[in-house]
Amino acid sequence: MSQPIVEVRNLHKTFEESGAWPWSSRRSVPAVRGVDFVVNPGEVVALVGQSGSGKTTVSRIVLGLETASEGGVWIEGVRWDDLPESKRRPKRVDYQYVPQDAMAALDPQQTALEHVEETLRVLGGLDAQEARVQGLEMLTRLGLESRTEALPREMSGGEQRRVTLARVLALEPRLVVADEPTSGLDPERREDVLQALVGNLPKESACIIVTHDMSEATQWCDRILVMLHGRVVEELNAKDDAPQHPYSKVLFDPWAGPLPDFDALDDWESDPNEAPVCHDEVTVEDLPAGEGEE
């Protein structure tokens, strides 16, 4: 079995929230409460859940954009979360993040091509001419060949997202973490963006997509981790498994029946005879090694 690209063990994160006034007492908000998973080379894994389920926090901790309160993250076998930033920085080229707000991630004064070119020159170490050639190639692969000279404000939401993806994918990263790359887009644009991301991932690289859209996760990912109240409540093989956990079912089809009491679902136990995977007690060693392996 090849080494996983990402390994997350017993991850916890508690935020300290200040009150409305300077003298109000501070409040602890547990956002992540014991999450374990691995992402293997060539795998696309979805973190799915409602707003506030902790999925974005987990994805940010994986890349070291947030520190964990407890637990650890290993990337390509190296303990990543307690490395000093000076040691992480050279590796960040290989581990890329796609933020949710594409417009905020783009320079309003740079064209699509300039964004990719600059990334390839500064982070990829290419000379100007080579950066231009490769930048054009990447934008063409993402269907943006006619938009290379467009400024962010002249682009549609879907085009802005694809430029942020072009910039990330041009570096041929080993790991891409995308935080709700399709939020706010209509169904056709969502399809374009996910096709651009998943269809252009370098071979043997890993990808984590944070989303609240189950159908999107089923279509584009290999495995789905369903998160509720800071924990993974169910893991699904995207192509074969039907959701068993009531919460996953609701995310799959929110209109199917009455909404369950989400707080009560914290203690939901599956029927062992039905064999859904419930992850409350599972450790990293028990996790499937990859697609199709149980």
Binding site: A20, G49, Q50, S51, S156, S183, G184, L185, D186, P187, E188, R189, H212, D213, M214, V250, L251, D253, P254, W255, L259, F262
Partner: protein, 241 residues
Amino acid sequence: MTALIELKDLAIRTDERMLVEGVNMVVQPGRVTALIGPSGSGKSLTARCSMGVIDVVPGLVRGELRYPELDAEKDWFAGLHGGGQQAQAKLLADTRALRGSYFTYSPQAASSALNPGRTVGRQLQLAIERRDTPPEDLSAEIGSILNDVGLGPEVASALPGSLSGGMAQRAALAIAVAPKPRLVIADEPETGLDPVLRRTVVELLVDVCKVHGAGLLLISHHEDTVARMADDVVRLSGGGE
């Protein structure tokens, strides 16, 4: 049943291209009418037109707009075709009194519809003042509307900034139904929400409109929402119906 809005053969263009063409829409009272179509098909434009707001030039090329419940015959677009900005300004002025009373509009980010400097109660009061007949007990009425959208009476004294996103959304909905409109027009209230919140928000919208006897024009691009919640569907494709 007399329709609230009747839009016939609407065509609107910019100098470069036709934005919508051949759009027909009838909105009946007390029903949920969904306006659905891909991005750029002119959903918001059609909804704004039906309120008398056209903000593109040259703008209105063809079409008829009637509010049969108010006047079965009057075509509000009559004489305005091809009239450009001036004609559109006249339409805007003619229909001004209807916006915020006959129909109210709930924009995509509902919380942006709230005035940050005024308490929710004061904003509700201003909305209630748009009714033809004022309520007997204003503060009881404010409390009752807040209750309908699932908020406590204490929210009346809160400023929008102190509300959570979900509460602000409920408060905006309270303000939309407070004038007792015949129709609430909700522009993509589901955008950016997770599936559970989407359902909760749309169900709340539909329930509150039903309680207040208002019709709902729901602009959406979610087929599942429309299939579950809409009584009538107006489907736009790119560049017309």
